[in-house]
Symmetry: D3
Subunit: 235 residues, 6 copies
């Protein structure tokens, strides 16, 4: 019944290829089915003004989509500025990753996670978070290996998946054909130990019940567990 033929609670094929660019301190190409996101972590010896002298570090994120990542070519944001949607997504990625970082242990340095969508088929913000965590993990590993920090500032895995109501059914990991028809669309960000970091559920022109809210959260827990397993396998 799903356009892809997947079972209701079946994830798309996950692939995480690490160290895909030469310059970044950490990087991966994450592929969740046909959604491909290049994630890089850049380490910089500076923090935003509000943290200067605090001894605390910062993790932030930026998100972009190549103009032809989508079915029809979109306008290049470099020419038109970031859309509200783009800003919303990059704020979400940064906030989610900061939930699993001990900023004192990181010390006064900033890690910027760039998530650039090379090809899109739904779920790009979730793939960005899952892949972004891998890039972050790799960059932090370099800091640990070099002895620049001694305590691991990463307190847990972070991964994200979308769930929604498609054709009246609760389904896991929506692809674009499902996403564009979904009655309810949710994004769930969880830790490796199954704690919730962020939940965003939105009736797209409709509403949903507490039971549906619970059912979708159950699905999300299953999906994130699989993503965390993939993260572990990749590193």
């Amino acid at each position: 019944m799903r356009p892809s033929g997947r079972h209701l609670s079946e994830m798309r094929l996950i692939s995480i290829e690490t160290d895909v660019t030469r310059h970044a301190e950490g990087s991966c190409m994450i592929r969740c089915g046909d959604t491909h996101v290049l994630c890089t972590a850049s380490l910089e010896p500076r923090v935003p003004p509000f943290l200067k002298g605090s001894g605390q570090g910062w993790v932030t994120a930026e998100y972009g989509m190549l103009p032809r990542a989508t079915h029809t070519r979109g306008r290049r944001e470099a020419k038109n500025g970031q859309s509200g949607r783009t800003q919303e997504i990059q704020r979400l990625i940064g906030r989610s990753l900061r939930a699993a970082i001990d900023r004192n242990a990181l010390g006064e340095r900033q890690i910027t996670i760039d998530c650039d969508v090379i090809q899109a088929d739904g779920g790009t913000r979730c793939a960005s978070i899952t892949g972004g965590w891998v890039a972050l993990r790799l960059a932090v590993n370099k800091l640990l290996k070099a002895g620049d920090i001694v305590t691991d500032p990463l307190t847990d895995h972070v991964a994200a998946v979308s769930c929604g109501l498609y054709a009246g059914q609760q389904v896991l990991d929506l692809d674009y054909p499902e996403d564009s028809e979904a009655g309810v669309d949710g994004n769930f960000i969880l830790t490796g130990s199954g704690r919730l970091i962020e939940v965003q559920m939105s009736g797209e022109g409709s509403t949903f019940s507490r039971d549906q809210m619970n059912g979708l959260t159950d699905l999300a827990e299953k999906g994130v567990a699989e993503l965390v397993a993939a993260q572990k396998a990749a590193i």
Copy 2:
């Protein structure tokens, strides 16, 4: 234990004053404690390009905060452009209100809800949604009264409240002192009949459990019921 002395599940005083401006087709000043938002509904005989000729209408929202609505003066967005936060909020308001509108019944016209925060003390996006629905209701009433439309396009009430973890406790309707210290912050948008429209829960640098998610949602249901009662009383 709350800074305001309120009980854990106690809302702030709600006041909704209608028809506060001369020109708008619908308007109200909503006051949730010290958070005051002026909401106006403007009816325009046009729709966005993607709806031209569809026979369907559109509801959209814009949000702003006067520079000195807050403790310290903020920069005027007219000089600096809308922040990511502002865009995120106005997208949420519009999406939430559209969940309770029958766009075919509305016909090819647009209603723009402007939510301008006159004074802020936490919860401005929730107050904007609750007050924005009242302005929308009043504007639609004018259309019905004038015979411009015959079927009421508003299918239900829409109201919103924030809940969160403050000092380890689940509290309803966070004010600014609570909001700035909250470990988890959630915004819940529901209909008058108790259906969920949108849920946004975010660990602010921390995480939360399924039980806490449920507890906060219970509180939100209670709070929204009180807000809907206030909406009914106001009109």
Copy 3:
């Protein structure tokens, strides 16, 4: 003969409500008939670069109009940037208020006057100046009361009124129906002692004589005297 039925030299009803917001150091809602402007004064312990180390303070102003303050909804300036008209008005407000301030007595601090038009019916720049002065007065009073400054830096009242030629007659305090038809439109800013601060008279597609210039200035003197009386009553 005037649309409102007023006599040629009759002002609209003036009302000045003070301390209308919690956070600002000074604030008022001024109502000149159906023109309502919220004026706040924000005190900040900094001055523009060109005054650093000079021992002198600064008073500046910003102006905005809520999108639906007018008959038909205007575009939100936060989305489009400030118009030339808006910049012209806020430069005028700041310049006018600085004419009655002793910047040495104020000391190295800045007071920003925000004038936000809640509802418009002509004469918004004049109402902003008259109400802005009240907000400024209240903020300065706080500084005096707290002993932060010892000499009152405010040297006089400042108030403003528009006069113009409507249907060939010299009229005082134009409302929107008059303003949009006026052949000549003037804005007069005066002190409490009747000195001129700024005069702007403009033939709107027409011209005027020295006699008319004098007649309108006479009217303005009468109107400003009434506004200053209202300022005194409000504080």
Copy 4:
């Protein structure tokens, strides 16, 4: 007593050279002492949207200053956007010239007056108006000569001069050293027949009396008469 050694009511040397560029329908270089402004009139077979189908024409103006027209190099507005001051000036130029144009006689076409300051020594907006009128006159003459219009749409001359209080004295046609020290600064735009189009008087941190207002207006009448004579001589 004036830095330039001029008498109180003495204008700077005026020179108006016409037809200084090849492409524009009308053009002149106006020199008021060391203030040099290149004024061009461009005729375009279109009008702003609000005039489409009205049969009426439009005259508008744009103003700019070359970065090194001034003592110290200013920032290029093409890189930073037009300042509030620039917008205020170009609105004034357009408004002033429209006061002497019969838009029905002009027919549905637009004339854009570009005023670009090549060298500045005070009074650039006044020189722009005086020179802009000459460029407009020349462009209209072409229309008349070609038979595109039959009735002359220009109803009178338009010229402008500044007057102010310098060192306590009423002086005519302020240059930069005077302008930067003036206690009161006024710009007067008049027609060839001596009617007032626009008066802008501003106490620069000070105030002025009715008598001073009258005295400065007397000076302006004298100055504009000389400018109009120069316009007549140039064409």
Copy 5:
């Protein structure tokens, strides 16, 4: 003597992988050593305004560099707007590709070539042109295969290479360490048949002779021939 150990006239390893994204009508990943550029061709059934109704098509290009394609992270252009360098490069790419297109044979449609640098090591604009031509070729092939056009509008291959003076020697295909030290830097765009399309030679703070100009052009002819061979092998 070259940092990479290459001979003076030795190109970097060239690799062109085609059809690397699902949605684009044509695409390739071109790798010139460590410079990797994703090139996509997007076909759209519209042309710029100046070609409407002409029966002619258009080829244009946009260029971007991911923030961490470089040694140190650059600012994201979506947040800051396109730099002058970016605009200069994308204008060059489009102009070069148009030199080998018969716009009448293409018909009234537009092909946009997006060149996004995934990893940079010098020569990104040349790689973009060489790879962009491959994406263009593939998109045009689809049009031919579908019978949408009958005459092949691509008249020849287009490829580009940089040459320069490094440590006093004429070298082919500069990588980043060479480029950042080069005394003269040239970009040569040629057709498959060896005709010149564009030559840009620039003394970077120095000058060069006619002999050096000729020597570098000889090198470029050799390099482009190898690139064209790689293009042929890839398709």
Copy 6:
């Protein structure tokens, strides 16, 4: 056979008038036929951040075109931002002039060359470089005369000319009618001693041979020699 009746290798009439504005440290009006560019050099006691403390100076350039410098009025860049073309040109001017400056001898100061096109008839970028060098020379002379620097930092003349293929013929110094029809268009920047600084040759929708490249470069050498002679005569 040329529209102007000139021989194939005949330059337009060159005129360089120096010291045309009061305030700039160096200035000239250069006229190449009907192309007139005002060039000013502004000396400022600061350098860009990357040169602070280096003891080296900087030369940079900005370029603009008055809206009615052209046949039809263009949009004012102050209202719309600098076009890609404008940025490309001003980068070229700055780069070219820096090729003949000893930045250590200049010392830590910046000279900004402003090139503003008063009237355009093709070749504005070349005229800007040739005239810009004169303005630079004059400003440097002031520094030398004042004893602020002791070694002349200008190592040679810099001048530029365009050559191209017009109606199949190699022609020197294209004017607008030629430029808009040219099959190949080249800009050549050379020193007074005949060394090349920058060569830009572009097939405008066509291609060219090595022989043509050489022929056009020969013409450019002839043209620049004449321009350098004019520079020498002017100073």
